[in-house]
């Protein structure tokens, strides 16, 4: 009799779980789940932002795939992202090697980590305006500093106005913003490796390079994969920085800074070019591309393991 009472009480207690999750579930369904499916629905319609949407089948997707401006925007995004990821992960990796080396035992990890992370917490709008002003080719501080030490004094580089330089300037600013984050993630991964591994290797007389190749990299693989995939998802969705630095969705100079999301924004939200259905198809096409690359990336990492 007593036992039954306890069981009944427990069942009542578990029912409270439903009560506690109600606010989350309702908000989640309305503002997260519904919009994702609504976007999917809109991508099959001719919705222009007003009037009722008409179903048009896969027309928008056919148009995306044959739209040379979409592919140009994707090319621009990949161009900006690839130099960005090489720099960002490269610097983070070097820092991780240096700080995890048991021979050096460098001090000040906490301080450097904080300083390196600093650019991450500043709003992209502020970073964009800061660099737009610093990199102004006639009056910006960067060219003034370069000229004062005798570099390019006669022919200052037009950092943001030259279509061959500007995309890479965005990559470098992005790397400057995000390398600290990658470094913290990689460092957390290294600190998770039991120190006996390194000590055992040191006793066996393994060189630094060998320890790095045989212990550090294999054990860091899950985190590297995580950093790689998240930076890919973030990188292909790049918007704030190129949008604000180039000053609009056209992505000037010569459209070289127009990323996929800027192109989407042009159709989704800009007055005069409203084609919401088409913008939605761009969103899902980009998602499909991200998904495919992530799966390939995951498979490649797995295969190397075997």
């Amino acid at each position: 009799m007593k036992e039954a009472g306890v069981i009944r009480k427990k069942r009542n207690v578990n029912k409270m779980g439903y009560v506690f999750i109600i606010p989350f579930v309702v908000t989640f369904l309305v503002f997260s789940v519904y919009p994702v499916f609504r976007t999917l629905y809109l991508s099959f319609t001719d919705f222009k932002g007003f009037k009722t949407p008409n179903f048009v089948g896969t027309e928008n997707y056919v148009r995306v795939l044959s739209d040379k401006f979409f592919w140009r925007a994707l090319g621009n995004t990949v161009r900006i992202w690839s130099l960005n990821i090489v720099l960002q992960l490269g610097i983070a990796f070097l820092l991780t090697i240096v700080f995890s080396d048991i021979k050096y035992r460098l001090k000040g990890l906490g301080f450097f980590r904080a300083v390196f992370y600093l650019p991450n917490i500043i709003a992209a709008t502020s970073v964009a305006f800061l660099f737009r002003t610093l990199l102004d080719w006639r009056y910006g501080s960067i060219n003034q500093i370069l000229a004062s030490v005798g570099i390019n004094a006669a022919t200052p580089v037009n950092w943001l106005g030259s279509s061959s330089v500007a995309p890479y300037v965005i990559s470098v600013i992005g790397a400057w913003m995000w390398f600290g984050n990658s470094f913290i993630l990689l460092m957390a991964g290294v600190q998770g490796i039991p120190s006996d591994y390194f000590e055992a290797a040191a006793i066996d007389g393994a060189g630094r390079w060998k320890v790095f190749r045989k212990i550090t990299i294999p054990l860091l693989k899950p985190i590297l994969l995580y950093v790689g995939i998240t930076s890919l998802i973030g990188g292909l969705q790049m918007f704030d920085l190129p949008f604000l630095i180039s000053g609009g969705t056209a992505g000037n100079p010569s459209g070289k800074l127009q990323t996929v999301i800027m192109y989407l924004y042009k159709f989704g939200f800009e007055v005069g070019t409203h084609q919401v259905g088409y913008a939605a198809a761009i969103a899902y096409t980009l998602f499909a591309i991200i998904l495919v690359i992530s799966v390939v990336q995951y498979r490649l990492m797995r295969e190397k393991e075997n």
Binding site: N14, M16, G17, Y18, F20, I21, P23, F24, T27, F31, S32, V33, P35, V36, F37, R38, T39, L40, F47, I91, L95, V98, K103, Y104, L106, F112, V115, F116, Y117, L118, I121, I122, A123, A124, T125, S126, F129, L130, T133, D136, S141, W176, G180, N181, I184, A188, G189, G192, P222, I223, I233, Q237, F239, L244, G247, G268, V276, A280, Y284, F287
Partner: protein, 275 residues
């Protein structure tokens, strides 16, 4: 001896890298005190005397204090909602056994990986139908559901909370909500605080969503206001004023970071190890 030289070189290189992280902010601070003409003719690390003029130029164009207030009105309630509702949802998912709990957890993990652009157009469409364009409600209320933070706090709670504590409280006759508020929430506070700092910075810096939802300039949050500098030609001719406007938007975040950098960094590290 050789090791010492190598170490010195490494410290030197690290310091140079640290300097490049700080230099743009230093130039920003210095230039915000100089006049447009001074900035155009040469650079300098010595502050000028034109803060007042720059301040007047900035405020002649828009009211940054108002933007500041607007950002607080959005970021503070959104952060509080995220903290409280993520905690209670994480608690329910970690402790109670109920039908659908596992499914919900799976859906949360899936949505953590879905890129934001997939919901953007549908979200705008929904807000337009609800006639909530140009209102703060769609910037604040959705903060109740933050899948990533629920995920983190659930894992955190499983590692810090002992179930015997809950049993003891139940035997004493405490109600479930009371147990959550008085016993569980204080225990998970370090994790909640860490996540809240990150959520606050994210809300404070958010640009794209407020940009598409807000129309009236007097409702603009700080990032949207700063970005509207674009369209003004008279302010772009005075660089000092731009630097000052950017500095005003950056300083609160620098202050938060100065006090909380430890928590912020530990939260990123924790996220990495959990993945």
């Amino acid at each position: 001896m050789e090791l010492r030289i190598k170490k010195t070189i490494l410290y030197l290189l690290l310091s140079v890298l640290a300097l490049t992280c700080v230099l743009p902010f230093v130039l920003m601070m210095v230039n915000s005190t100089r006049s447009g003409l001074e900035i155009m003719t040469s650079f300098s690390f010595i502050p000028g005397k034109s803060v007042k003029e720059n301040w007047e130029t900035v405020f002649g164009y828009f009211n940054l204090i108002r933007g500041f207030g607007n950002s607080i009105m959005v970021a503070v309630p959104a952060t509080i909602l995220t903290a409280y509702f993520s905690a209670i949802t994480a608690y329910a998912l970690a402790i109670y056994h109920f039908r659908g709990g596992k499914v919900l957890f799976f859906v949360i993990v899936v949505f953590m990986m879905i890129p934001g652009q997939l919901s953007l157009l549908g979200f705008y469409n929904l807000i337009a139908k609800l006639k909530l364009i140009d209102s703060y409600i769609p910037l604040i209320i959705p903060a109740i559901a933050s899948p990533g933070i629920v995920f983190f706090l659930r894992q955190y709670l499983i590692s810090v909370l002992s179930k015997s504590l809950l049993e003891a409280a139940r035997i004493d006759g405490a109600g479930e909500l009371h147990i959550f508020h008085r016993i569980v929430f204080p225990i998970m506070l370090p994790g909640v605080a860490t996540m809240s700092i990150g959520a606050f910075i994210g809300n404070w810096n958010s640009y794209l969503v407020p940009l598409i939802l807000l129309n009236s300039p007097e409702k603009f949050t700080l990032p949207v206001m700063i970005a509207s500098l674009n369209s003004s030609t008279d302010i772009t001719s005075n660089q000092g004023a731009i630097y000052l406007a950017v500095a005003i938007s950056v300083i609160p975040i620098l202050v938060v970071f100065a006090f909380c950098s430890k928590y912020i960094i530990s939260s990123i590290s924790a996220g990495a190890v959990k993945e």
